[in-house]
Each structure stands twice: as structure tokens, then as C-alpha cells.
């Protein structure tokens, strides 16, 4: 069965997206580190049932604590998985760091710029189209708590493809 991993920095809304996509009720709270273990769920994607895994938050793929260890292990065990990278739009740089690390390992990725509403209130604007051009993977703006962009996110999972990191650095500089 096809597997999808939900990854991102701590407190970026992975579990909320997980609940949105699977209809499950995973504990969600407003502080980082709520998910230290992983949760599995299932969702229908164009008629097929796919497994969705809610991975604990991590800042990078060099683990520094238990939750990050779990995250890295999960990623390494699921070589065939598609990864949804959640980025807190108001703290985009950290999220992009992790996203690039995941892309570098050869995983097909979809980027969700979550908490678009929070970024907006901080006057942070992100050019999702431009980011999509640079990264070469789908980039979707979402507000998971209200459900905004979740449908688009789900519909673009199939567009996820592995991208060579050299290509991204070329796109970014040119």
C-alpha cells in the first residue's frame, strides 16, 4: 500500500492536517512536542486507500532527542513513501531546511505552507508559486485549523516527485 509521511518542525500542525485528512481525532495542542510517537491512519485518495503516518516534529534529520530519533527512523524505514512537508509559514526558513534535507534523501515531496493565517497577521508574505518553481515540487498554502487548502493539498499528492538538490540550487541562483 502506498504510504504518506507527514513531516515538519515541531508545532507546525502535522497532527491537525492528519486529522483533517483521515478524519481521526489525534491529540492536538498548541505547544511543540505533542506527538512524540507516531500515529497511523488511512485515507482515500482517488479511490485508493493509502496509509498516512503522523511523524513527530523534527528540526533536522540529525536527531537530537527521542522524538527526532523516531522521526528519522520512520523516514528511513519507509523508503517508498511520499512525504508531505509541513512548514509554519511564519517560520519558513527552518521548515525549508528540513524540507531540503528530506528532498536530498530522494523522497518525493509535497510542501504545505501551513498557518498561512498566522504569517499573514505577522505581515509575512510567501510567494508559493515562486517557491514551487525553485523546488520543483507542489507547494500549497494551507490553514489546517480551518481546513483551507487541505483539498488542494490532497489533490496534489500525486504530483510529488523526487528532485535533485543540485537542480534546486541552480533554480535558486538563476
Amino acid at each position: 500500500m502506498e504510504k504518506i509521511l507527514l513531516m515538519g518542525n515541531p508545532n507546525t500542525g502535522k497532527s491537525v492536517v492528519f486529522n483533517r485528512l483521515t478524519g481521526a481525532r489525534v491529540t492536538v495542542s498548541n505547544y511543540p512536542g505533542t506527538t512524540v510517537d507516531f500515529t497511523k491512519g488511512w485515507m482515500k485518495l482517488e479511490g485508493k486507500t493509502v496509509e498516512l503516518i503522523d511523524v513527530p516534529g523534527a528540526f533536522s534529520l540529525e536527531p537530537k532527542d527521542k522524538a527526532e530519533e523516531v522521526a528519522v527512523k520512520m523516514l528511513e524505514e519507509e523508503k517508498e513513501a511520499v512525504v508531505i512537508c509541513l512548514i509554519d509559514s511564519s517560520k519558513a526558513e527552518r521548515g525549508l531546511y528540513l524540507t531540503l534535507e528530506i528532498i536530498e534523501r530522494g523522497y518525493p515531496v509535497v510542501v504545505a505552507l501551513n498557518m498561512a493565517d498566522v504569517a499573514d497577521s505577522k505581515n509575512i508574505m510567501i510567494d508559493a508559486e515562486k517557491l514551487e518553481q525553485i523546488l520543483g515540487v507542489p507547494v500549497v498554502c494551507t490553514v489546517a485549523v480551518s481546513g483551507e487548502g487541505i483539498k488542494e493539498l490532497a489533490s496534489r499528492i500525486k504530483e510529488a516527485t523526487p528532485v535533485k538538490i543540485e537542480k534546486i540550487s541552480k533554480n535558486a541562483s538563476g
Binding site: A58, F59, E62, S90, K91, E93, L98
Partner: protein, 74 residues
């Protein structure tokens, strides 16, 4: 240059040097050379320091804050 752990409250500095193999560890938190930091909170009794980077807050253990050097803005 001084250590992040030595910064005063509200002081702003640019990261110039990160000691040892720490770079990979903190890059994921948005701190790298050339970044502007603002000291937001210093907890007493060897507690963590909170710095503002790119409009968001990151707390650093004292061990980390001792190894990051900034050039303070006048």
C-alpha cells in the same frame, strides 16, 4: 564579538561564528552565520536564552548559546 549567552536584553547582533560541529544542529532552528538575532529573554540560574530570529522565537540551551558568537550592532 561576544557569545549569545553574554548578550544583554534587547541587544541585537549578527551571527559571525558558530563553534565546532554545532552548525548542523542549529541550522534547523533558523540560526546560521549572517543571521540577525535579538536577545528576548534570559532565564536565571543557567536557564535557556530566548532569541528572536526572523520574527519568531527560538530558545537555546546555555551550552549552545555559549558557542554562538555575534557581532553586536551599535
Amino acid at each position: 564579538m561576544k557569545k549569545v549567552s553574554e548578550m544583554e536584553f534587547d541587544e541585537v547582533g549578527i551571527v559571525r561564528k558558530i563553534e565546532g560541529n554545532l552548525r548542523a544542529q542549529i541550522a534547523g532552528m533558523g540560526i546560521r552565520e549572517g543571521k540577525k538575532l535579538r536577545m528576548a529573554t534570559k532565564q536565571p540560574i543557567k536557564g535557556p536564552v530566548v532569541v528572536e530570529v526572523d520574527k519568531s522565537f527560538t530558545s537555546l540551551g546555555l551550552r549552545l548559546a555559549d558557542k554562538i558568537f555575534v557581532e553586536v550592532e551599535k
